[in-house]
Symmetry: C2
Subunit: 340 residues, 2 copies
DNA sequence: TTGTAGGCGTTATCAG
DNA sequence: CTGATAACGCCTACAA
C-alpha cells in the first residue's frame, strides 16, 4: 500500500457494497433497474469512497463523450465570447459539456486543436468560418465527427454553416455611409488569407464602391493582425500618407477602436475629420466616444442555434443544413458627411 | 458491413502492415526502436488508412493525457484572455494541450466543469482565485489532480497560488488617489461572495481609507455583476443618491468603463465632476476617454509562470509553492483632485 | 528487432 | 433483479 492510492474504481465500489460491478454500473446509469436496498448500499459505498467514474473507460465502452469542442481564433476579445456563452448554455441543456481551445489565428494550430479534440472524443465540433484546408474536412469526415461552421454563412461551403452573410452586411454598411458623400475611402482589415469573414467583408466593401459610382480599385485595403494597436498604427499610416481618406472602413470593431485611438493620437476629430466604421457591434463599440457605426450581429442567437443544430447532427446523424441569420447596420456617431 | 465503418484501429494498421500491434505502437511512441523498413511499411499503412490513435484507450493504458484544463469565470472580456493565451503557449512548449471552460461566475457550474475536466483525464487544472468549497479541493486531492490558483496570491490558501496581492494593490491605488484630497468615496465591486479577488480589493480600499484618516465604514460599496451595463447603472444610482461621491473606485476595468459611460449619460465630466478608477489594466482602459487610472497586472508573465509551475507539479509530483507577482498603479486621466 | 498477452475501468450481453 | 464475462483500443513487460 503506497501513500499514493489510485482513485477508487467501479470494482472497489462493488467490493465495498458486496455486489458486482455490473450492478454498480446500473446504479449509475439506470438506477431503476436495481432494487432500492442494494441501490442504497451502492450509493453509500460510492459516497464514502468518493468514487467518480473513469471517463476514458466509459468512452471506450460507449464511444460517446457528450462533449463538444469549439476552436476559436482568439479569446483576446469579446467577438466570440458572447456567442460561445450562449452556445455553451444551450449545449448544457442538452447534456453536453463544451471544451474550448484557441488557435491564435493560425491554421496549423487550429488543425492541431481539431485533432486534439477529436482524439479526446469530442462528439462534435464548432469551428469559426469555413475557410480551411480540405484535408482537415476529409479527416473529420473519416473520423465521423460532425462539424459546424459559425460566424459565417455560405450554403456552398464544405460544411454546414450558421451565421450571416459577411459580404452583404459589409456592402450594406458601406453603401449607407457612402451615401453621405465620401469618395476617398480606405479599409483596415484583418488578414484575409484563410479567413473568409475578412475576405467577404472586403468584397462587400468593393461591391458597394462599384454600386455607388466609385471604382473597387480605389478602395485601398491594408491588412493587419487583430489588435487594437495594429489598428491604430495602420490608421496613422493611412492618414499621414498621400490621398488621405475621409472614410476608413474597419473589418471589425477592435480595429475600428484602434483607428479611433490613432485618430486621437493624430489630433484628428472623429467624425469631423474622418469617419470610421466597425463590424460586430461588441460592447466596445458603445463605449468609445463617439460610439461606433457598425454591423450588429445576433451573437447569442447564433450560439444557441449552432448548439441545437450540432446536437441534432450528433444525435440524429443528420447532415446539418446551416442557417443564415440577419445582421443589420447600426448608425452611430463615428460617421458624418465628408468635410467640404 | 455498414456504410458507416468505424475509424481504423491499431489492429487494422498492424494487419495492413503485416506486423503486430506492438510494433505499430512502438512506431508511434518510440520510432527508433523499430527497424527502418518495417517502420516505413507501418507509416504508409497509417497514412493510407488515415489512422489516428484513440486517445481514451491510450489514456486508459498510460493514465496520462498531456491535457491541462482551465476554468475561468467568464470569456466575456479580456481579463483572463491574455494570461490564458500565455498559459497556453507555455503549456504547448511542454507538450500539453489546454482545454478551457467557463463557469459564468457560478460555483456550481465551476464544480461541474472541474469534474468534467478531471473525468476527461486532465493532468492538471488551473483555477481562478482560491475561494471555493473545501469539498472540491478534497475531491481534487482524492483524484490526485494538481491544481493551481491564479490571479490571486495567498500563501495560506488551500492550494498553491500564483498571482498578486489584490488587497495591497487596491490599497496602493486607493491611497494614491485619496492623496489628492477625496473624502466622499464609493466603490462598485463585483459580487464578493466566493470571489477572493473582489473581497480583497474591497478590503484593500477599506484599509487605505483608515490609513488616510477616513473611516472604513464610510466606504459605500455596491456589488454588481461583471458587466458594463451593471457598472453604468450602479454608477448612476450612486451619483444621483444622497452624499454623492467625488471618487468612485471600481473593482475592475469593465465596471469602471461602465461607470464612465454612466457618467457620460448623466452629463458628468470625468475627472472634473468625479474621479473613477479601475483594476486590471486591460486594453479597454486605454481606449476610453479619459484613459483609466488602474492597477496594472502582469498577465502574460502570470500565465507563463502558472504553466511552468503546473507542469512541474504534474511531472515531478511536487506540491507547488505558488508565487507572488508585482502589480503597480497606473495613473491616467480618469482621476483628479475633487472639485472645490 | 519483433511478437504475445495481460491489464487499464466501463458498459452491455447473457444467463441465472 | 443480479452476476459473469466479453468487448472497447492501446501500452508494455516479457519472451523469443
Amino acid at each position: 500500500m503506497s501513500d499514493h492510492p489510485a482513485p477508487p474504481t467501479l470494482d472497489d465500489v462493488a467490493r465495498a457494497a458486496g455486489v458486482s460491478t455490473a450492478t454498480v454500473s446500473r446504479c449509475l446509469n439506470d438506477p431503476k433497474m436495481v432494487s432500492a436496498p442494494t441501490r442504497e448500499r451502492v450509493d453509500s459505498a460510492i459516497k464514502t469512497l468518493g468514487y467518480t467514474p473513469n471517463f476514458a473507460a466509459r468512452f471506450m465502452a460507449v464511444q460517446r463523450t457528450f462533449t463538444v469542442g469549439a476552436i476559436i481564433p482568439t479569446m483576446e476579445n469579446a467577438i466570440f465570447a458572447r456567442g460561445l456563452q450562449a452556445f455553451q448554455e444551450e449545449l448544457h441543456h442538452h447534456g453536453y459539456t463544451l471544451l474550448v481551445s484557441s488557435s491564435a489565428y493560425q491554421a496549423e494550430a487550429e488543425e492541431e486543436q481539431v485533432r486534439a479534440l477529436v482524439a479526446r472524443g469530442a462528439d462534435g465540433l464548432l469551428l469559426i468560418g469555413y475557410d480551411r484546408d480540405q484535408a482537415l474536412y476529409d479527416y473529420l469526415q473519416r473520423q465521423r465527427v460532425p462539424v459546424l461552421a459559425a460566424w459565417s454563412f455560405d450554403p456552398d461551403a464544405a460544411i454546414p454553416s450558421i451565421g450571416f452573410d459577411n459580404r452583404s452586411a459589409m456592402r450594406a454598411l458601406t453603401t449607407q455611409v457612402l451615401g453621405m458623400g465620401h469618395t476617398r475611402v480606405a479599409m483596415i482589415s484583418a488578414h484575409s488569407a484563410e479567413n473568409d469573414r475578412a475576405r467577404m467583408r472586403i468584397e462587400g466593401a468593393r461591391i458597394a464602391m462599384e454600386q455607388n459610382g466609385l471604382s473597387a480599385d480605389d478602395l485601398y485595403v491594408v491588412e493587419v493582425s487583430y489588435d487594437i494597436n495594429e489598428g491604430a498604427e495602420a490608421f496613422k499610416t493611412l492618414m499621414t500618407g498621400p490621398n488621405r481618406p475621409s472614410l476608413v472602413l474597419c473589418g471589425n470593431d477592435v480595429l475600428a477602436v484602434g483607428a479611433m485611438r490613432g485618430a486621437a493620437e493624430l489630433g484628428l476629430s472623429v467624425p469631423d475629420d474622418v469617419s470610421i466604421t466597425g463590424f460586430d457591434d461588441i460592447e466596445l463599440a458603445q463605449v468609445v466616444t463617439p460610439a461606433l457605426t457598425t454591423v450588429h450581429v445576433p451573437h447569442r442567437q447564433m450560439g444557441r442555434l449552432a448548439a441545437q443544430q450540432l446536437v441534432d447532427m450528433i444525435e440524429n446523424k443528420t447532415d446539418g443544413v446551416g442557417k443564415e441569420l440577419e445582421s443589420h447596420v447600426v448608425m452611430r456617431g463615428s460617421v458624418a458627411e465628408p468635410r467640404s
